[in-house]
């Protein structure tokens, strides 16, 4: 009797030991700046590998949009167990690919303004879009989006194209959230303050730091980088009274990893300090979970939005094309 129990136990023990011996591997698709040497990737990899005794492999593509496309291109044959770095504007379309499995973990420790509920995606950080300005070039920045739109000063801003960039889409949604049906008119008024519309965030921000524009569409956390990394207080975000649009970055596991215990383990690890500690000063975003130490005081001094603006993912997915077309027709005039 004891023998009969022992044998299956031994077999189970072997089965459990086998993957460990072969170094069980978890493949995580993410975006580039996450895995770069100063990004959170290397720290996260070390921490998780120490905890799980497994091999964590990152595969990176340009950004969140490229991530989703990569997944669509690979379809069912994807190597990804985890996809990390989509934002809530993409999650609806991501779900519709049918490539994701429910995360099955408790989101209780997640702390995101306005709360977060989803059975497929787990948030890992968030940030607010904001206009960042150069204090040496601009004394009195606009106090609200309305201020900016209506202003007849010769203020110039650089923004990003919603057709090609995530923050660009963010501003589009921000305007829509504030102006609703009047968004087109608001864009028309904003147009002569827009010096240029760049394909991505990097180009705009490059123009901004080169002194070409005094104000650029970025994040409330951008000044934190300049204060902590450069020790400079030159760049500040302008608080807008209508509130700021929220971007939440999420991860999910693929159907391929639906039964992979390691994938589930990674997702819950992601919400804990081992992962979250790397977010503020490596991804320059707000952590979605608890960190082991309080954040650098600089983060407390950043703009605290009066109101959090966010459309549900379904609404974004449903209207994105129409809203972008509307933007196009106004801005092409």
């Amino acid at each position: 009797m004891r023998m009969k129990l022992f044998l299956p136990a031994l077999a189970l023990g072997f089965l459990a030991a086998l993957p460990a011996a072969a170094q069980e591997k978890l493949t995580v698709y993410t975006y580039e700046s996450f895995t770069s040497e100063w990004g959170p990737g290397p720290v996260v990899e070390k921490a998780f590998e120490a905890e799980c005794g497994c091999d964590l492999e990152f595969v990176s593509v340009a950004d969140g949009v490229a991530l989703l496309n990569r997944l669509r291109l690979e379809g069912g044959s994807t190597k990804a167990d985890i996809v990390l770095g989509l934002d809530t504007n993409l999650t609806h379309e991501a779900k519709q690919t049918g490539l994701f499995a429910p995360h099955g973990i408790d989101l209780g420790i997640i702390d995101i303004p306005g709360g977060f509920q989803d059975d497929t995606f787990v948030p890992f950080d968030y940030g607010y879009f904001a206009f960042v300005y150069d204090t040496q070039a601009l004394d009195s920045p606009p106090q609200s989006l309305k201020d900016l739109v209506e202003s007849d000063s010769d203020l110039k801003i650089a923004i990003q194209d919603p057709r090609t960039s995530t923050p660009g889409l963010g501003l589009l949604l921000w305007m829509k959230a504030v102006y609703g049906d009047q968004a087109a008119d608001a864009w028309a008024k904003l147009q002569d303050k827009v010096l240029t519309v760049t394909p991505g965030w990097s180009e705009s921000y490059g123009l901004f730091t080169n002194g070409e524009v005094p104000m650029v569409l970025s994040y409330t956390t951008s000044p934190a980088y300049h204060r902590i990394a450069d020790g400079s207080e030159r760049y500040k975000a302008a608080p807008f009274s209508e509130g700021h649009y929220l971007q939440i970055e999420v991860a999910g596991r693929t159907k391929k990893a639906a039964d992979n215990a390691l994938a589930a383990r990674f997702l819950s690890f992601m919400t804990g300090p081992g992962f979250q500690d790397a977010i503020p000063e490596r991804n320059w975003m707000f952590p979605a979970g608890k960190t082991s130490n309080p954040l650098n005081p600089v983060f407390q001094e950043l703009v605290q939005p009066a109101k959090t603006l966010l459309f549900p993912p379904e609404e974004v997915a449903e209207n994105r094309k129409a809203w972008v077309d509307e933007w196009l027709s106004v801005m092409s005039r």
């Binding site: 990569r70 669509r72 057709r163 080169n210 070409e212 801005m331």
Partner: protein, 547 residues
């Protein structure tokens, strides 16, 4: 009586070259066809996108593409003619070699680096903003809009066109220069009778190349265009594939882009004139040019103006780069790895590019010799401008298409370096072909019959007869192809970049992580690599004169 440029009837020796060319064409066809096939596999599921693509948005994008590319071409090519002419008439102009090498650098710079360089001068906060404000009487708001696109495109392409025209002028037989000097032709007569015919022969090719480069320009158009008014087909294709993930629409838009460009090329081809009649006359570098002192002054002014225009944004790039912590950058393992990756991939791409280009050039010439009619046949046209149409197919389309195909056959990541090399090689081909073809055709006109009587064929012929004459232009072609590949980003975007993290990629990555100074430093490195490349190409070609 000189050896006439008579058609020599087809023989086996031609068949070998035609076969090599056909092989090269097939390789290109597979590259493009494969990409389309891959996308088509995805597109059949939602083919409606292809029909929906034909809307007013497409019409607007197509019109703007044609307008900006057409104007850019005009503004690049016309000044380039005068710059090339001035350089040709002053073979000993101080620093001429360096100027020519500098002229190749813009090609290797990623779009955003060039755009920032241009803006450092002509931008809202640019160096020239105060005088421009004074001239216009209002605060200078930068060159955003069509004018910005044009300035940046001229910065990219005028130097390229000038180099190509100069090559055409230097191929004019020495006797013609002597004759013009003896007959006492003035600069006007020389231009009309000697220089213009040579330039006119090169014009369609150069204009085509510039047009294509401008038509597919992406970052420059979006950043300097100032807004969605400046939407080109390339942007629409990118949008269709990236944000909307609509392969059917992407295919339709790509086809529109290819067809429109082909139409432009056909029109441009009519501007040209064949000028092969004197190809057999030996050319020497000693030219009998005796410009008057007044003309010398004018030429010097033209050269210096062009130099200032090209060197200005480059100087801005250098100054921005010097702010970076260069010694730290130079010691970073990530920079070393990216540099090695870039150089290896670019060298491989340039090698493959040279191979394909020589095969096509040789095949074109063999077909020209073999043809029984005065106008080229379809295969000959394909080996000529047809092949260069590849340039107009966006790398993101090729990348995405092959991604879909390759994932059926195994690990896509393994193919990534191969893809990067192949696509860069093919994209650089139109440049390399332009460098190689004149030399090959001239040598062929001189040696074709002799090779036939002596039975020198195949590889022997290449080794003994063709290669010695091709070494110099091939070195130029190689350097150009390598410079282009160094600056390219397109294909890598969709393939995971982990294995193929190149220097421009690293540059954009740093820019995307607030590290603007690092990015500027890397741009400086890229420019220096390109300059070094051009220097070695010129040096290597000079070392052993084959004549």
């Amino acid at each position: 009586m000189a050896l006439r440029h008579e058609p020599v009837t087809a023989h086996r020796s031609q068949q070998g070259r035609v076969a090599a060319g056909a092989l090269a064409l097939a390789a290109i066809g597979i590259l493009i066809g494969g990409a389309f096939a891959g996308l088509a596999v995805e597109a059949v599921q939602s083919w409606q996108g292809a029909i929906a693509a034909f809307d007013s948005y497409l019409l607007r994008a197509a019109r703007f593409t044609l307008v900006q590319a057409g104007l850019s071409t005009l503004l690049s090519v016309i000044p380039a003619i005068f710059v090339a002419r001035a350089l040709a008439r002053h073979p000993r102009f101080p620093g001429r070699g360096l100027i020519l090498q500098l002229f190749a650098v813009p090609l290797a710079l990623p779009g955003i680096v060039a755009a920032l360089g241009v803006l450092a001068l002509y931008g809202r906060a640019g160096l020239l903003a105060p005088p421009l404000s004074w001239i216009t009487g209002e605060t200078w708001q930068g060159i955003y809009g069509l004018s910005g696109i044009l300035v940046a495109h001229v910065f990219f392409n005028m130097p390229l066109a000038a180099r190509l025209f100069l090559a055409a002028l230097e191929a004019v037989p020495a006797d013609q220069w002597k004759l013009s000097a003896q007959l006492g032709m003035g600069p006007g007569a020389i231009f009309r009778l000697i220089e213009w015919p040579a330039i006119r022969a090169a014009l369609p090719g150069v204009a085509t190349l510039v047009f294509m480069i401008c038509a597919i320009s992406f970052t420059v158009v979006l950043t300097l265009g100032g807004g969605p008014r400046a939407t080109t087909l390339e942007v629409a294709i990118y949008q269709a594939l990236r944000f909307d993930f609509d392969p059917a629409r992407a295919i339709a838009l790509t086809l529109v882009q290819v067809i429109l460009t082909a139409g432009i090329i056909i029109v441009l081809a009519r501007l040209g004139a064949s000028m092969t009649g004197d190809a057999n006359l030996p050319t020497t570098s000693r030219r009998a040019v005796f410009p008057s002192s007044g003309e010398t002054g004018l030429n010097a002014a033209v050269i210096l103006l062009a130099l200032a225009f090209v060197a200005g944004p480059m100087a801005a790039t250098v100054i921005a780069g010097l702010v970076a912590d260069l010694s730290r950058l130079a010691r970073e393992p990530a920079v070393h790895a990216a540099t090695a990756t870039s150089l290896i991939l670019a060298a491989l791409a340039a090698f493959l590019c040279l191979l394909l280009s020589i095969a096509l050039v040789a095949a074109r010439r063999a077909l020209e010799i073999a043809r029984g009619s005065p106008s080229p046949g379809p295969l000959e046209r394909l080996t000529d401008t047809g092949a260069s149409l590849v340039l107009i197919v966006p790398p993101i389309v090729i990348g995405a298409g092959w991604f879909i195909l390759l994932r059926r056959f195994g690990d896509v990541f393994v193919f990534a370096p191969l893809m990067v090399v192949t696509v860069n090689a093919v994209m650089a081909m139109p440049f390399a072909m332009r460098a190689i073809r004149p030399a090959y055709d001239a040598a062929s006109a001189r040696h074709e019959k002799l090779c036939l009587t002596l039975g020198i064929t195949g590889l022997d012929r290449f080794r003994l007869v063709d290669w010695p004459g091709l070494k110099r232009p091939a070195a130029t072609g190689f350097a150009f192809a390598m410079a282009l590949s160094l600056g390219d980003l397109g294909v890598i975007a969709l393939f995971g970049s982990d294995q193929v993290k190149t220097l421009p990629y690293l540059l954009l990555e740093r820019m995307g992580s607030y590290r603007t100074a690092d990015a500027a430093g890397l741009a400086l490195f890229l420019g220096l690599f390109c300059l070094a490349l051009m220097f070695f190409a010129a040096h290597w070609a000079r070392e052993k004169p084959w004549r």
